[in-house]
Symmetry: C2
Subunit: 242 residues, 2 copies
């Protein structure tokens, strides 16, 4: 059973200010929850319907009805399980390796997909400008498909971070050098910009290495790629070797 | 002004059966509508608020209030313009060039993003298994960002299509050959599978060329990529040249 107070708490966690207040976030679905349970992230409470109740071996497990699940689920088609996890403490970000930096990504699906991509390509550190959508937004958690358990995401003043870093800084621009022909390093920071406005002028000034994904379509083709698909192509190029 | 009957019609077009009945689809936002106006697709009616009314030069243009826009918009944050277009007649699909085939993609955002990607990479034909989400679903139209005007999408019996084609057929599988090391042709059909189940067993049998995007993360990393990001990486590899 889920109490009225629990329903109220869980619903409030859809908003960032209550996530900060309670230091909790929501995860839904067997796969995402199982990956989080295997990580260092600490479970607060798990709710599951009969369908998936036996899939989990953990304390703090509560059996609830489908009707109750509908009241706490964030999804339009509720999953069979929902868990609350403690937001982990933010450590100092990495300053070596291949790092993805996001300059104010707004769409939760894009951030979640980028976290999943970084996990695939073994890029364990994402740096977000403070204006970027919150990692613990339930839609972001969902889109990571569990990769949130393995990729470290820090929110910082991106300008300061880039200025203080000794790594080469890359960014994608229409007039950049053809990424397919560049010799790309194993270490570096790759900046991706906001969905509507791209990389901000302030951050652009710090980027020494301007790269571009060439367009193969007609001259009347699309002007841009979705930021998550652009990230996919760029990480693939940095990883594949020349 | 928008009449009660028009509101009823527009709202009904969120459902596939009414799109088929009326042979109309909805497009929202200045960019998407302008790209469609420049294409061969025929405008039925355009509604715009003061904000974007003067952006369009076309007949069948109606000025409406923001309040009216809220009643017809599909988006949670309504755009300043919404148009109805006639669904174009479906021609016979292409049988040459680089073709993307989708085996039952269900998420509208994924299909729209793949249409936009194909436009970028100059891949003008997409073949969808009949179970694939409808191209004229408003969320698909939105995610194409106008590329729907340039990429041809056909819904067919995918098994028959692949069996009848003389092009080499590719598909991504965990046990496929490393895509970064394969010599990839300029022509061929690349099959991508459903979000949850991948490529169906029936279609898998027809695929002669099994390719894989290698994973660079830890062994405990994510098991899969989102289908739109996988499409991005595969199209990039087919296009970049070796």
């Amino acid at each position: 059973m889920v109490s009225k107070n629990q329903i109220k708490l869980i619903n409030s966690l859809q908003q960032k200010k209550y996530r900060i207040e309670h230091q909790l976030f929501i995860a839904e679905g067997v796969k995402v929850i199982q990956e989080l349970l295997q990580s260092k992230i600490v479970l607060e409470q798990l709710f599951a319907t009969e369908e998936s109740f036996s899939s989990f071996e953990c304390s703090s497990k509560t059996a609830i009805s489908q009707q109750e699940m509908k009241k706490i689920s964030v999804l339009s088609t509720p999953s069979s399980c929902l868990a609350l996890f403690k937001i982990p403490k933010q450590n100092k970000p990495e300053t070596s390796g291949l790092i993805v930096a996001l300059d104010a990504i707004r769409d939760p699906g894009n951030l979640g997909t980028i976290v999943r991509l970084c996990d695939w390509f073994g890029c364990t550190q994402i740096i977000c400008a403070t204006e970027t959508v919150d990692l613990y937004n339930p839609k972001v958690v969902q889109a990571t498909m569990g990769s949130i358990a393995r990729v470290i995401v820090n929110y910082v003043d991106l300008k300061d971070y880039l200025n203080e870093s000794s790594l080469p800084v890359f960014g994608t621009f229409m007039d950049g050098k053809n990424i397919y022909k560049e010799k790309l390093p194993n270490e570096g920071i790759i900046v991706f910009g906001n969905e509507a406005n791209g990389i901000s002028a302030e951050i652009e000034k710090i980027i020494k290495n301007r790269i571009a994904i060439p367009q193969f379509g007609t001259i009347h083709g699309t002007e841009s790629l979705n930021v998550a698909t652009a990230t996919a192509i760029v990480l693939s190029e940095f990883s594949r070797g020349n």
